[in-house]
């Protein structure tokens, strides 16, 4: 048994070393329902140059603090090819609040509902909020977890740098 553990730990550490340079992830197209009850695919709503995907939930306070800031970034850069997509991971307990929370925050970008959180699970993102910046090929070019005041400046800088 002891040898099994040693082998496992060695295996994990080797894998960590080997994979630390793995390529950036590509987000495959998916279909989810919007807060307007429409079934939409990523390809339909992504930006011509950049897309921000924001994984959030109504019960996550940093998420709802970040969303108005993302909305400001969306308003400023949408004409330059930026799209923002919010994916709510609210389960059955709180999914009914997704539309009303987005409305009260006056969010203009598309909000999708993922009751099983399948998209986030498929790519193993663990934190709320997790923000992905995708290029036109859906490749993740930047990732940000969590939100504290001031992060919106970093996010905007990443967007602006790539739209220049």
């Amino acid at each position: 048994m002891k040898h099994t553990y040693q082998k496992y730990i060695i295996f994990c550490l080797t894998l960590l070393c080997f994979c630390s340079n793995a390529n950036a992830q590509v987000i495959d197209d998916f279909y989810l329902e919007s807060t307007d009850s429409e079934l939409l695919s990523l390809d339909e709503i992504k930006g011509s140059k950049l897309t921000i995907i924001d994984f959030w939930a109504t019960w996550c306070k940093p998420c709802t603090k970040a969303m108005p800031k993302l909305n400001d970034i969306y308003s400023k850069y949408k004409d330059q090819g930026l799209s923002v997509v919010g994916i709510s991971c609210d389960g059955p307990r709180s999914i009914s609040k997704v539309a009303s929370v987005a409305n009260s925050l006056e969010i203009d970008y598309t909000i999708l509902k993922d009751i099983n959180c399948e998209v986030m699970n498929a790519y193993q993102y663990q934190a709320f909020p997790t923000l992905l910046l995708l290029d036109e090929h859906n490749e993740v070019v930047w990732l940000h977890e969590g939100y504290v005041s001031g992060d919106e400046k970093t996010i905007e800088q990443e967007v602006a740098d790539r739209l220049d």
């Binding site: 048994m1 002891k2 099994t4 553990y5 496992y8 994990c12 894998l15 960590l16 080997f18 994979c19 630390s20 340079n21 793995a22 390529n23 992830q25 495959d28 307007d36 009850s37 429409e38 079934l39 939930a57 019960w59 306070k61 603090k65 108005p68 991971c89 609210d90 389960g91 059955p92 307990r93 709180s94 009914s96 609040k97 539309a99 009303s100 929370v101 409305n103 009260s104 925050l105 006056e106 009751i115 099983n116 959180c117 399948e118 699970n121 498929a122 193993q124 663990q126 934190a127 709320f128 930047w142 940000h144 977890e145 969590g146 939100y147 504290v148 005041s149 001031g150 992060d151 970093t154």
Partner: protein, 474 residues
């Protein structure tokens, strides 16, 4: 070699969570312990195919029977042009969870006093699922064994005692309206098969008002049923949602389903511990949620919920009234103030009053100070009890965060010795050197108790000692 193949054959990725602990459980009469928990997820994707494995490990001493090394999940998935075929460990929710609900609580490593082995908190289904969906309709068939809450030290047969067969279909009409029909067959060892049927309707009533209705029952027993109705909409800057529930004898097997609670889950510490957990054996009630956004950016939120349980001649009524004001001082210091009043007979807490103040104060463009203060009082049969919680957090962007958390309670249910107060003092240091790694070190003593996350409630234990969590993505 892996990297070389990566570019040619597909996309390889993974995550790892490593959590060593050294310390003690203050409620237990035992020596200090050292333990190590590790969870590795490896995923390989190539076009429409995805393969994934999850390996969990717990180690707490050379000869401990709490140790395990477990291939806890494996998945093969094919997803293309509306088809989604999965074989292995899957997560599925039917409707709003009246009949079936799987979940994974991110970052929640739980330990149960009876087993004292740590494992990830999730409920998955081991089996297969075939789904086809397009813009008009969706059909899905699932056959799987449902995971219960026993840790991996138990045999597979003991951890998966419920077998479910599900056929579900949804059809969209007038573009935004949807009707769904769900059939579930459930078998558990030593009992006859039960059949359940569910139906759901949802869609917009007006441009700003939408509805959701779901009804489910045991096929041959009207006494086993569940109804859930939700309305949500907005008028100018006012957003609202109203939900109704009526659950009667509706726990399937060892709990493969989870009807919506219709009670708000707050992230505020004291309120989160006080979250009402629904009992689908007999519960009815409602929840009203209102939120008004002012032109200045201020937000006023109100939530009221009622849950009534009837057991024989005894009736228990949970009531909650919550009001939150979210604003800012001088345009750059945001704050939230809340007040909550509840009656909670299940927790034997009457006249429960909770007040809280949260703020974020920028010290410079990169440094932020965040105080979080909560006070709670309630009446028990034995007298009045109070809970206090203070957290002071200093953050350097999202890279480095130091948080000091102090909690205190006079609740006789939580005091361990002859004194009349129990104190907890601990500190968290979080460091994110880059977007792939996060380190979080805890030192001190932290309060356990009920915790609710992602809509699911569970129990965490008091802990005193040191704990490091390293999350990495590759």
């Amino acid at each position: 070699m892996i990297i070389g193949h990566n570019t040619v054959l597909g996309q390889f990725s993974g995550t790892n969570l490593l959590e060593p602990q050294y310390g003690e459980l203050p409620n237990q009469f035992e020596d200090s312990f050292a333990s190590l928990y590790n969870r590795t997820i490896l995923t390989y994707r190539k076009k429409a195919f995805r393969a994934s494995v999850t390996i969990e490990q717990f180690y707490s001493g050379a000869s401990s029977n709490r140790n395990y090394l477990d291939l806890s999940q494996a998945l093969l998935q094919y997803k293309k042009k509306g088809w989604d075929i999965k074989l292995g460990n899957i997560y599925e929710t039917v409707g709003r969870g009246l009949l079936l609900r799987g979940f994974e609580i991110r970052g929640a490593v739980i330990e149960e006093l009876g087993f004292r082995s740590r494992n990830y908190f999730h409920r998955d289904f081991l089996g297969g699922s075939v789904q086809y969906k397009n813009k008009k309709w969706k059909v899905q068939a699932i056959r799987a064994d449902v995971l219960n809450l026993f840790p991996p030290t138990f045999d597979r047969e003991d951890r998966r005692t419920d077998l479910v067969n599900v056929v579900t279909g949804e059809y969209r009409y007038y573009k935004k309206h949807k009707i769904g029909l769900h059939l579930l067959n459930h078998t558990s060892e030593g009992s006859d098969a039960d059949n359940f049927i569910g139906i759901q309707f949802e869609g917009p009533i007006t441009k700003t008002l939408s509805y959701y209705l779901e009804y489910a029952q045991q096929a041959d027993d009207f006494g086993s049923r569940a109804i859930y109705i939700g309305l949500n909409g907005s008028v100018a800057n006012l957003s609202y949602s109203l939900e109704l529930k009526d659950y009667e004898n509706f726990i399937i097997g060892s709990g493969v389903n989870e009807p919506p609670a219709l009670v708000q889950q707050f992230t505020y510490r004291t309120l989160n511990r006080s979250t009402h957990v629904p009992n689908p054996f007999d519960e009815d009630g409602y929840q009203l949620d209102l939120s008004y956004g002012f032109k200045s950016g201020d937000v006023l939120s109100f939530n009221h919920s009622l849950a009534r349980n009837q057991f024989g001649n005894n009736s228990f009524v949970f009531r909650q009234f919550f009001l939150e004001w979210s604003s800012q001082i001088s345009t750059f210091i945001p704050y939230r103030f809340f007040v909550d009043f509840s009656e909670d007979p299940f927790k034997a807490q009457d006249n429960r009053l909770t007040l809280g103040l949260y703020s974020t104060i920028p010290l410079s463009p990169k440094w932020v100070f965040s105080p979080e203060l909560e006070w709670q009082r309630f009446d028990r049969d034995t007298g009045t009890a109070q809970n206090l919680s203070f957290q002071f957090e200093l953050g350097y962007k999202s890279k480095i965060i130091l948080a000091i958390l102090a909690e205190s309670t006079t609740d006789p249910f939580l005091i361990r010795d002859e004194s009349n107060r129990q104190n907890f003092l601990g500190a968290y240091l979080t460091y994110r050197p880059n977007s792939k790694n996060t380190f979080r070190l805890f030192g001190g003593e932290r309060q356990g108790g009920p915790a609710c996350n992602s809509g699911v409630c569970y129990e965490i234990l008091d802990f005193r000692g040191l704990e490091l969590r390293w999350s990495t993505r590759f």
